[in-house]
Symmetry: C2
Subunit: 109 residues, 2 copies
């Protein structure tokens, strides 16, 4: 989150995403339809995904396997975003314990 903006660059076509996640195109588009991910839609209607999108998809996959439905995942995601922005508010980067933050997120799920 704090390093590597490169992970946010939309580079990958859906076929590559399918290969990296073992999701079907239908699933990937369905999650987009429900605003869990937001690939880039350039010019000709095509979708381009970032490495962050891959991470998000893998997490969706995991949460679904745990029996959480799309609505639940939506909440999980928004809680995470909120947590992140709280972390940043008025704090210096060096003062943030990212390791702890990640561990907490991991055990919470």
């Amino acid at each position: 989150m704090y390093k590597d903006k490169r992970r946010a660059i939309p580079l990958l076509p859906i076929s590559t995403v399918m290969g990296l996640t073992n999701l079907t195109a239908r699933q990937i588009r369905y999650y987009e339809e429900h605003h869990l991910i937001e690939p880039l839609r350039p010019d000709g209607n095509r979708r381009l995904y970032s490495l962050n999108n891959i991470d998000e998809l893998l997490e969706i996959q995991e949460l679904l396997e745990q029996g959480i439905n799309i609505a639940g995942i939506k909440i999980v995601f928004s809680l995470k975003k909120e947590a992140n922005s709280k972390m940043y508010k008025g704090r210096r980067l060096q003062d943030i314990n990212f390791r702890k933050m990640i561990e907490e997120e991991l055990e919470q799920s």
Copy 2:
């Protein structure tokens, strides 16, 4: 070279490569034809490029701008490969001064 096999994974379609390098499809395929890069050719005849391929293309671009032709670049590349394998021969990873190696390569070109 010593870390991140991920950089070697073929993920990117040619359109993305064009965007990342400002090369035309014609140029990219031409360099492949001359064995300067070797994208993956899966199933349906499509090409998939890795991040390493991007680096190679950027270097080709730079060397061409310096007036070196394809034949020259081919030699540069093979010298590098040779240098790399020499580096590894009978050495422990920790004993290799990669920073020095990179700097030498940079100033030599």
